[in-house]
């Protein structure tokens, strides 16, 4: 899909099937999900979903309006990439023999990545940060042999007193 990247945050009821409903809406309308995170919030009845997607302004507007209509969606917000705190976790297993270890360790040190596993032929690095920082790290570490890679996807929160709250309290738990 062409268009710019967008990060959408949602508060949803923590009910069975909610994630299916949200992701099915994306499937049904032909929107792409680049990454998706979901977890329970401080209110156990409410979960927070962060989706990164792509599209032109009209598609992003449609995504927001269509998700807003779902009865278990309590709030939807388009995150401003320059304003919000964006974080992602990376685990990457790099093939490394004795001769390569020191260089990899140096890269990790520069990016403040931790080495969380160490074996004769490989190293597992962990890095938390903005997606751009993770992309930067991967570009450098990609010069070595990547055996396995996983990213959690972006999770987002605003600075200061911009707080996301539910627009209604109605429960649809059945």
């Amino acid at each position: 899909m062409n268009g710019k990247k967008a990060i959408i945050a949602m508060l949803v009821e923590n009910n069975a099937n909610v994630l299916t409903r949200v992701s099915m809406l994306f499937g049904k309308r032909g929107y792409n999900i680049d990454s998706l995170t979901v977890s329970e919030t401080n209110d156990p009845m409410i979960s927070r979903i962060t989706i990164t997607t792509q599209g032109d302004d009209r598609i992003i507007e449609q995504i927001i309006l269509q998700t807003k209509k779902m009865v278990e969606v309590k709030a939807v917000r388009l995150e401003d990439e320059n304003e919000a705190i964006l974080r992602e976790l990376l685990l990457v297993k790099v093939g490394a023999d004795e001769s390569q270890r020191a260089a990899i360790r140096d890269i990790c040190e520069i990016y403040k990545a931790s080495i969380v596993d160490f074996s004769p032929a490989s190293i597992v690095c962990e890095l938390t940060g903005k997606p751009s920082k993770i992309n930067g790290f991967l570009e450098i570490i990609g010069k070595y042999e990547i055996l396995e890679l996983c990213r959690t996807g972006v999770t987002a929160m605003d600075h200061g007193n911009k707080i996301m709250v539910c627009e209604n309290k109605e429960s649809h738990r059945a």
Partner: protein, 554 residues
Amino acid sequence: MKLTGAEIIIEVLIEQGVSDMFGYPGGAALNIFEALYHRQDEIAFYLTAHEQGATHAADGYARATGKTGVVLATSGPGATNTITGIATAYLDSVPMVVITANVGTSLIGKDSFQEVFITGISQPITKHNYAVRDITRLADTLRNAFKIAGSGRRGPVLIDIPKDITAASCEFTPAPKWEEPKAACAPQSELQKVADLIAKAKRPVVCFGGGVISSEASEELLEFVKKARIPACHTIMGTGVIGFGDDLDLGMIGMHGSMTANHAIDEADLMLAMGTRFSDRVALNLRDFAPHATIVQFDIDESEIRKNVLVDLAIIGDLKMELQSLIPLVESQERPDWLGIISKWQKEYDIIDGKGIDGIRPFEIMEVIGEKCGDDAVIATDVGQHQMWAAQFCKKTRPRGFLTSGGLGTMGFGYGAAIGAAVALKNATVFHITSDGSFHMNMNEACTAVSNNLKVITVIFDNKVLGMVHQWQNDFYEKHFVATEPERKSDYIKLAEGFGAKGFRAETKAELEKAIDEAIACEGPAWIVCPIDRNEKVLPMIPNGGTVRNAILI
């Protein structure tokens, strides 16, 4: 008071004002039917031949009255058989509550006998759905279902209830019937902007759809267009609101709309879209749709704005209230120039060509039905050529009087919908306009009409081909008629008699008039088969992606 889950279901249905429902029993639903047994004086249950017929009946019931239609079906195939009917209601924003029973909670997820994950299957075609897992939530879940189905933009809601929940008991607290709060109306300042645009416009057009009927705004719409003298066209979902032949009536818009309606949209400098979502059968070419017009879109659902067509001004809220506020803001005008051009188009283009066609013509059939059916009659259609002819030549003016599957285009919708309307309106005569193709899909519902002695008169446009597809193969596939000439030998008169209904055949206008008189006079349902020429086409036709300049006229 302590009630079983099954008793709670029936209790809440009665509390929500349900007096009729449609469906089919089965193992997982037995407790619910047992609870219904004791309350049959309050809720009439209509057993259909198939659950699809039940959902179309509940849909027709809702379209004809505005009340929420209710379906009760069992698990597994009972539930999956409701799907086409639910999707039909969803695409046309019809309020419906579908209750499906499921196997007991301990059997769920084990591929048990007659078990399907119906909440998963129905998710993309329901406004919302519920899988009940906690009996203490059952009553409020049912109430929420009625609230969601019948508020804002209407739609179907499914509730899946496992058998053990219908058997268990819990405390039940009665509640009053849910009443829709006064809908939101766009601010006066926005409506003033619309009035200013109307005052400046030289060639304004209204295009309205089913939203006018859903918000019960037909009277206001007529008052508005008459005061501002704005000609109006409608989508198929808006059929029956404005009088056929009224000088402000441009007819239907879109693929099979009138040339005048499509020309008017093409030349308009202001288009007021009311309760219509610019589907691809209406706005065939998104880039060239109403190219000279400032477009104002009125809709209750904000997500419809800019979904298909870019608009200049969006008015979000209840159309009835908005029209009530808008009427005093607009000035009376005459618009002789614009209405003169329109009347010229009507005389030039909106004429019916009859060269080389034998026998009774589709428009003649609709003419006779229009003359015979009476003011209170309802017309329900199936899908295909006959549906377009019915919409093009429907001369009746009665909102909620023309029931058709506009969005999903469900062949087989008509019989169930006609049954639902006949149940809802008790004494009304319902005309079911169908064709040999569509009728073969769900003619089994004849047994339902017979059992319940319903006055449904089916008129079959019999051209021996699957006409609409045949027409496309003729026009766009070099007459390669594959799978559209079925060579069926069905004898409709014998079939009608086999079901216990009356059957008639009419080959001329006079025969049709006589057959309708006899059908109206006889008890229960009747069929009238009208053989028509297989070369009859639905015209005009604007091909996909085209504009009025690409219209096929012969």
